[in-house]
Amino acid sequence: MNTVDQPGGPALPSERGPSRSYATPRRTPLTWIRGGGLSAFLFLLPLLFVFGAFSWFPIVRTAIMSLQHTNFVQAPTWVGFQNFRAVWHDPLFPVAVRNTAYFALLALVFGYPIPLIAAVLMSEVRKRRGLYSMVAYLPVVIPPVVAVLLWKTFYDASATGVFNTALGWVGLGPYPWLQSQQWAMPSLVLESTWANAGATMIIYLAALTSVNPELYEAASVDGAQLLRKVWHITLPQIRGVLLVTLILQIIGTAQVFLEPYLFTSGGPANATLTVMLLIYNYAFGNSLGGDYGKATALSLMLAGSLAVFSLVYLRATRSWSTR
């Protein structure tokens, strides 16, 4: 028995006499084309192609390769989850995870507040704000490889190195910087913070302009100083932006590659070996052709972990960011 046949059941659209005149006309391919559907599709095609070829295809290929053993010359063989197991049991895997977490932690502790403090201070400046913004943003414009080479000379471990000479003036050092297992990672974080702080600071500066100035005026009337204004007005007002930059920073630092690769190649003694560098080493560390299966397996493990983390983070902070 059909429910619509039941007495007292909801009226079918066909039974609603007057509403018929408002019914959507039947869509045919011709009406779709006349309505601009074809041109929209044509405009969409290049984007679909680019996304498909350069974003989705590599992801699918990565997933397939993680289950294979291949050297790009001989035919690949299916090995199931063997690559994942091999990565899991690699003694360098926990080292790389630990180092990546350490880098992320240092970057969070030192690198995260610096752009915020700089932005707040800069927003207080009344004169030549553009000049200060430019100076702060300048490191972002310098090509990363050039910046690393520059900093490598700064980090020269001899007493005549740039940093060691400067610190020597106040009776400090010389420090081994990149030549020490203890100092290497903080050295990378220092350069990374210098290189990236400008971009985040610009975002904060933009966010700060959206804060209603009347709030600060009211706080001033109540006798609040700068720190109290920042704590009670600025931070709550831009918390949405703060949460987004925080997760972007965590994702970014979890994928750190450039600094350890160019500064130390993961050394000394694997002290700066990060997950991304381990992926690179799996793929290209051996001149006889890399273990691309292991490299892609670890890539998927990293991507999966970050996806789960992002999901949990967004769920956990949803109420706070929209309150």
Binding site: F72, G267, A269, N286
Partner: protein
């Protein structure tokens, strides 16, 4: 009569067909074949580039149907692996002795056997050297470019400045340690420096040290080889480095030198002594304009036991496996012209030496024979009038090297073995409290796993 006419028609037809095919053949052979070839390392001087281009010009003049495209090339483990995977290597490229056989077994190098057998000098090769370029099926997959023995290079100016006699370089490891300490104290420059980068070079140099003391990094061959990284000689070598670094403080403050970096530092007068291949002088001139008067080279000191020897290796030139037949033939002609002829043909040896001298490039850099000893001596005799390297300063090496036993690099998973050792060397040089034994145990396990996988 009829049969004669038929015979004539057939004969004319055959002649026409032969003529047509000959014409077609000449058209085909007249078509230009382009090959790309490994040229110089990035950053080479203009004079070196000019000299290389002069050789390309001469080759193209000799073979008008072949066009040669030089491509800057420097073999490093990671860049080679990436280019190999991406298939972006030049048609002719170079690989170290350690890699050619495995690459050949995997079908990643072209089979040169038919061409090799046609080379008039193919039976003059040093058998041990040509074996490095022969795969498991007996196919020749690469031809030798050059062979080297590890040597101790030293800065004569720093020796003098430290009050040491540059004509009497150290002959024992104890002397190296003492001289390094004196150079460091008297000149402020590191007395002895090692490649200690995480790019397999640290492991390469440590293996050299261990060979000189009598140890080996593995026994057996192939995937059944046994890693022996944690032998007593390696522990002794690492403890010696530890003492030089932390007790004597004679190794300076930079411990991330790779092959190019250390050459650059040496050419800049920042290094007292270091170990590298005997043929490194070419790079010191081509890339870093080393002052010849400061250069000195001697043999690696060997300990006093029967197993000691000097690590030897070399470079081979190979061809991409996907090269078309015409490209392969052209590539072999280039291999013959560029790499082999200067060693087997008097005319070509002299012409090559003249071009090098005209472009202020080194002639007479110490190298080991890739052909038999007679041919080696003959080739050296041909170029004698053109030798422009400071031979007198190379005498300690030249006089001693043929008395030393040459030991090839570890055969199984060479680069992985070196890579496992990299971290140990780095640890010793950057952490005073490194537990050498424990680290070597871990490195040995890593190397053994790589050997088992054939990685």
């Amino acid at each position: 009569m009829k049969s004669t006419r038929v015979a004539m028609i057939v004969a004319v037809g055959v002649l026409l067909a032969i003529g047509a095919s000959t014409a077609a053949g000449s058209t085909r052979s007249g078509k230009k074949v382009t090959i790309s070839v490994a040229s110089l390392i990035p950053g080479s001087t203009q004079a070196a580039i000019k000299q290389f281009n002069a050789q390309v010009k001469e080759f193209e003049k000799r073979y008008p149907t072949i066009q040669v495209k030089p491509v800057e090339y420097q073999w490093t483990g990671p860049s080679f692996a990436a280019k190999l995977a991406a298939r972006t290597l030049p048609t002719v490229f170079e690989v170290p002795f350690t890699d050619a056989r495995t690459l050949g077994d995997r079908g990643q190098l072209a089979n040169l056997t038919p061409y090799f057998k046609k080379l008039p000098y193919h039976n003059k090769y040093n058998n041990a050297v040509i074996a490095e370029g022969t795969d498991a099926k007996g196919q020749v997959v690469a031809l030798p470019k050059g062979a080297y023995a590890q040597a101790l290079h030293y800065n004569r100016a720093l020796f003098k400045q430290a009050g040491l006699n540059p004509n009497k370089p150290p002959t024992t490891w104890a002397q190296i340690r003492t001289d390094a300490r004196i150079i460091s104290q008297k000149t402020g420059k590191p007395g002895y420096v090692e490649m200690a980068k995480d790019d397999n070079t640290a492991g390469w140099i440590l293996t050299t040290l261990v060979y000189s003391l009598g140890g080996r990094m593995e026994t057996g061959t192939g995937t059944h080889a046994k890693a022996t990284l944690n032998n007593t000689y390696t522990i002794h070598a690492l403890n010696m480095l530890k003492a030089m670094r932390w007790t004597d403080n004679s190794m300076g403050s930079n411990f991330d030198y790779g092959w190019s970096d250390i050459n650059q530092a040496f050419a800049a007068g920042k290094v007292g002594m270091y170990i590298s291949g005997s043929d490194v002088y070419t790079n010191l001139v081509q890339a870093y304009n080393v002052n010849p008067s400061t250069y000195g080279v001697t043999t690696i000191p060997l300990a006093n036991n029967k197993k000691v020897g000097v690590l030897g290796g070399g470079t081979l030139a190979a061809v991409r496996p996907d090269a078309k037949k015409a490209q392969l033939a052209a590539a072999v002609k280039w291999l013959d012209f560029f790499y082999e002829q200067p060693l087997v043909s008097k005319k070509q040896a002299i012409r090559n030496a003249k071009t090098l001298v005209a472009n202020k490039q080194p002639v007479g850099v110490p190298a080991l024979p890739i052909f038999n000893r007679t041919q080696y001596n003959l080739a050296n005799l041909w170029i004698k009038p053109y030798i422009n390297v400071p031979v007198g300063q190379m005498k300690p090496f030249l006089n001693g090297i043929f008395k030393q036993k040459l030991i090839p690099e570890p055969e199984a998973s060479t680069q992985s073995v070196y890579h496992a050792l990299d971290a140990v060397v780095e640890a010793v040089l950057t952490n005073k409290n490194t537990d050498v034994v424990q680290m070597l145990k871990q490195a040995n396990a890593e190397a053994q796993a790589a050997i088992r996988q054939g990685a």
